[in-house]
Each structure stands twice: as C-alpha cells, then as structure tokens.
Amino acid sequence: MALKSVESQVPRAPGPGPDASERELLDRVAKARDQAAFRTLYGNYYQRLSRLLSRMSVRREDIEEVINDTFWVIWTKAGEFRGASQLSTWIIGIAYRRALNALRRAKIRPVSDEPFDEDSISVASTDDAETDGQWLSLGLSRLPVEQRMALELTYTLGHSCEEVAAILDCPVNTVKTRLFRARETLKQVLPSLAGMPGENS
C-alpha cells in the first residue's frame, strides 16, 4: 500500500494538549482554589483517562474512582507542580500510578481475568474495520499492561517517546523495547498488519 494513501487515513495524533492554557488553569487551582478552572481541567482529561484506564484493564465501574483519586492529588498538589515536564505528562503519570497501585492491591479487578473469546470474531463480517478492531482487542488483551500503555500513549494519545517514558517512569530505551515487542505480538494477531489477510481466520 502506498505510504501517502495510508497517511491520509490516519487521524492526526492529538499530542499532549494545549499545555500553556492548562498551566494557567492549574495556576488558578493552586493559587485561588478556583473550582471553575478545576472543573475545566477535569473535563479536559476525563475522556482521555477513561480510555487509558480502560486499556489498562480497569473495569468501567472502577475507572471513576481512579480518575477522581488522580484529581484529588491534583487539587491537593497543584501548587507543587514546577513544570519540569508537560502538565499532561504529570497528570497522566499520576493516573497511571494510581491505577497500577489499585490493580496491585487487587482492589480493582482486571478485565483480563475474562478470557477473550476468539470465536466471537466474526470471520464472515464484511466490515474490515470492525474485524480489525476485534483482532486489535484480542492482540491488546495479550500484551502486558506496560506494553499496552506504551502503545496507547503513543498511538491514541499521541505522546512522544520521551513523554511516554516520563509517564511510565522508565528509561526511553525501555519504552522503545516495549513498543518493539508489542508491535511484534500484534502482528501475530492482526492479519492485515502482518500482511497475511485471512491467515488467522
């Protein structure tokens, strides 16, 4: 497939977000305990974090708890943010660590306890996008959470390698390795990405 035609299908990576305006919101939270600014910041991250936590195997009903724990930290520590990293990196990093802690304490039940049913993938589907999405869900479910997060942060949230390393609190080379392994695993389960249409069906 020609590179140009593929490029035109790719949604623009959202990137880390409008950091300057969000810094202003955080300053208002820190200095004036501004509820409106806090609410705006919450809204800016609610969907992003919901998606990320969902990929981390956090159940729908537990996601709100992790998001609110994250914003509890932001409310109480807003004045301590010094801008050493992007604000989005700081916030998503807090959410990631809160979710990991929660998973480790087994307070939150991992979705991956439920085995993925490969038979549920409709091989007769005429909708390639839907079928690819099902294979992708299968592939992601087989990845360790750290690899899944590296993928999600890179492709869905559009972060740079350095930002992903900051969020996951690991070296840049570790992020590259995780993504390398994730790509290889996914190629085994995503027929179209592996260039073997129909092989797995």
């Binding site: 497939m1 996008a129 999405g133 559009g158 390698c161």
Partner: protein, 223 residues
C-alpha cells in the same frame, strides 16, 4: 544532543512509531526519514504502524456521556468539600497565608463573607442554621432546604460580582439563596414554586445562569 548519526536499520526501526505519530524528536527526524526513504522494509512498517494507529483510534472505548462526567465530578467535589470542611484548622491556616501569594483567595473569601452577610438579608434568608459556636464552616452539603423537595441549584459567583447584580440575576430566575458559602465559595439556591409552576427546573435554570459572566459555576443539586 549526540553528534552521532545512528543510520542503522535497527535504531530507525525502533523509532518508527513516533515517525508514524508525528512526535519523533527533531534531532532524529532527519536521519530516520532518510533511512526510511531508502529502506523498503521500514516504509512498509511505517504504513503498518499508521494502520495500527488508525485501528486504535477506531477501537477506542466509546466516550462516556457528559452526564457521567458531571456526576463523577460532583462526587469528587463533594469529597473535596467534605475533606476541607472537616479540617477547619487547614481552612484557617490558608486564610492567614501571605496576602501577596493568596490575594485572590483572600479577596474571594472576603467577597463571599460580604455576599453572605448582605445577601442573606436581601434574599429573605431564613433557613440557614446559625453558625456553629466553634466557627466551623458548613458546606452546602450540610444545610437543610427551606422548602421540602424544592429544586436546588449550586452556584458560585465571580469575585467582582456586586450584590445588586447577584440579586437581580437570582430574582430573574426565581432563585433564593438558602445556604452558603461552602469552603469553595458555593451557595445553594432554591427555585421558587412560581418558577417551577412556569416550567423551570433546576437543570434548566443552572444551564441559563452558568452562561452569565457573573457566575463561575452552576449545577443542579441532585434531589
């Protein structure tokens, strides 16, 4: 920045996801693009990674409804209010911090006190309990409504909003302050029976006043 030009297949391969998402470092972009231009395998991989990115976007969890987000925030805010009202020492300590650093907080607290002092008289306030002897600030979640089952709205005003402006705004919507301010500066207002009879609801009124420049926050109070 390293002066080395790592023009190797393996190193370029590792960076392809960020070439695909457009976030590769400027210092790497040039040599990676040069390598990809001459490497058929890497070109195919970039195309493959872009397809993966597209599939991940498409397969992202459906967005939660706006009402879910608001409900979730309301729970968080109630937790913050409960925590801050449970720590009067913290509130007092914050009020005594340097005025230069917390000038807006101090101004807001002062404005809230003025609004409370004058506003309650103006609005015929009669349902708020007397301030406790210990001086503890009560939040909006601790008060009693003046009319059973009356629709309620939680509202915060801009620090520079005048009493007259607030009075006019509330009167126009059939609202009466029944309690506040909470530690975050919120007041609770109830909707008059006349306003309810004419079709107004806590939700519709909150939506209307939220657009007023003198209002910084407004939401219906869950029954």
């Amino acid at each position: 920045m390293s002066s080395r030009i790592p023009d190797t297949h393996a190193e370029a391969w590792a960076l392809l996801p960020w070439l695909a998402n457009g976030r590769i470092q400027a210092s790497d972009r040039e040599w990676v693009e040069a390598h990809v231009a001459g490497c058929e395998e890497c070109r195919a991989e970039v195309a493959s990674q872009r397809m993966m990115a597209t599939a991940m976007h498409r397969g992202a969890t459906p967005e939660a409804a706006a009402t879910d987000e608001q409900r979730s925030f309301n729970r968080l805010w109630a937790r913050i209010e409960a925590s801050e009202s449970a720590s009067p020492a913290n509130v007092a300590a914050e009020a005594t911090r340097p005025a230069t650093r917390y000038s807006r907080t101090v101004r807001w607290l002062a404005a809230a006190v003025v609004v409370q002092g004058f506003g309650l008289a103006l609005f015929g306030f009669n349902a708020v309990r007397e301030p406790p002897a210990d001086g503890q600030i009560h939040t909006v979640t601790t008060v009693q409504p003046s009319r059973l089952n009356a629709p309620m709205v939680r509202v915060a005003f801009a620090p520079d909003a005048s009493i007259a402006t607030i009075n006019t705004l509330l009167e126009h919507q059939g609202l009466s302050i029944v309690s506040g301010p909470g530690t975050a500066g919120n007041f609770t207002a109830e909707l008059s029976a006349d306003a309810v009879a004419s079709g107004a609801s806590a939700n519709s009124v909150a939506n209307v006043i939220a657009k007023d420049p003198n209002v910084t926050f407004a939401e219906p109070v869950a029954p």
